[in-house]
Symmetry: C2
């Protein structure tokens, strides 16, 4: 018996289950690996494979609760500078890229983290593996109504781009400038930087009030640490340090020792 399937045979769990069944029944099996849409899309995009974070899928739905988790996968990957590949639903004619982008925008409207918005650079891969495959890159708002061959479609949200990656994307971009201007949103970094700035401002207000210089210097050391950890990519210690510094200052305020507003 030979079972031929499109793409890689075990990327979908159905076929893994079949192999398991065969093994349990002591039926011999031989595997011939196939070309996967996963690596083909990455390959066609010109993005570096080792810079992709966790991938995610977007179902054919009007219920954005089913898309929320994928939105957060994107947020986490972007915070690490990584690229994100979305598999779009292939059932019932398939989910179109434009519709998938609209779903992500709706989640953005509720969650408000700023990772999906006008100006966000997106890559749309249509019909990978077919003769009429296309790849297009552009600003999200220009791709929502862009004419594409029918599904299957896939989406790639680039993270931080190496200049060799930018060069390749420009070949299929609607506008080379959109690629050059690409600035992925780093939610964690941006949030820490906002807190660092706020804490520094408050610290300045507090110095000179009824609190020792030693205490202020102690707080400042943690603010500096937070910034340094952030620069070295150590988000865990960066978040802990800035939270700690804010707590130190807020205790003074709560005890009535100093006055300030965040």
């Amino acid at each position: 018996v030979c079972i031929a399937v499109p793409g890689d045979p075990f990327i979908a769990t159905t076929h893994v289950a079949l192999r398991e069944e065969a093994r349990k029944l002591k039926v011999g099996e031989e595997i011939v690996f196939g070309v996967s849409a996963y690596t083909s899309a990455i390959s066609l995009s010109g993005l570096h494979v080792y810079k992709f974070g966790k991938s995610a899928s977007i179902p054919l739905t009007d219920d954005i609760n089913q898309v929320r988790q994928s939105y957060y996968t994107l947020l986490e990957n972007q915070s690490r500078g990584l690229h994100t590949l979305f598999f779009l639903d292939t059932k019932d004619g398939g989910l179109r890229a434009g519709k998938a982008l609209e779903l992500l925008l709706k989640v953005e409207n509720e969650e408000g983290r700023g990772v999906v918005r006008s100006g966000t650079l997106v890559i749309v891969v249509a019909r990978i593996g077919y003769d009429d495959a296309t790849i297009t890159a552009g600003r999200l708002e220009n791709l929502i109504n862009h004419t594409l061959p029918p599904p299957p479609h896939m989406l790639i949200f680039p993270g931080e781009l190496h200049f060799t990656e930018k060069e390749v994307i420009k070949f299929y971009a609607l506008n080379a400038d959109d690629v050059e201007r690409h600035a992925p949103v780093n939610y964690i970094r941006d949030r820490v930087l906002k807190y660092v700035e706020k804490t520094r401002r408050v610290l300045q207000e507090v110095r000179g009030q009824d609190v020792g210089e030693e205490f202020c210097n102690y707080v400042e050391a943690y603010v500096d640490d937070s910034k340094n950890f952030l620069t070295s990519g150590d988000y865990v210690n960066s978040l802990l340090a800035i939270g700690y510094a804010e707590g130190l200052l807020d205790a003074l305020r709560l005890l009535g020792v100093v006055r300030f507003e965040w």
Copy 2:
């Protein structure tokens, strides 16, 4: 002109550059995608492709500084429950899996985050795509000296495993119990939990000392928040909240209002 390469043509950047060159010279080109070791290894392992985080590579070297970044990729993926695929160097006869595991252990000895150690479940894929390909799973210490066909080798460190994934791994594991007992180290979660516990203990010591109940309840609310954010997978707010709670308590200690030791 036809250029045939092993694996997927553009996973390595050399060939992307070739295509770019052809396009610049207005030379027509057609791409036939290939079978990538990346998806084949994932496919053979039976792990779910969408649960893989960023992949990384390990060079043929004795300088563990060149392996440190890959170690932290593993740590980050594990903290999200994700699987990690390591491409091992193929130059000069190739890096053997056992040697790669030793390199990671050396980094662990310096960094001490606990993600690579005796008992860690590892999957070794050897010669994927060749007729004599093998896949083996087992405890790290049992795989270091395990006999394998020559390189190319790849390593997979599983994150959290679905029971269907466990079933597949057991087919090629040295010992089914090792798969059943697999408990990936979640560095971020473990660290927050340690701080939550410590802060709760200190809070108990502080209550009854010269500080209002309102202040203590305020701190406690943030400790609870941290735990809840952790449970929902929101590490950013969890880390900020526990850092903040520690800062609140430490300010009291520094001002001499209360006495305790962390």
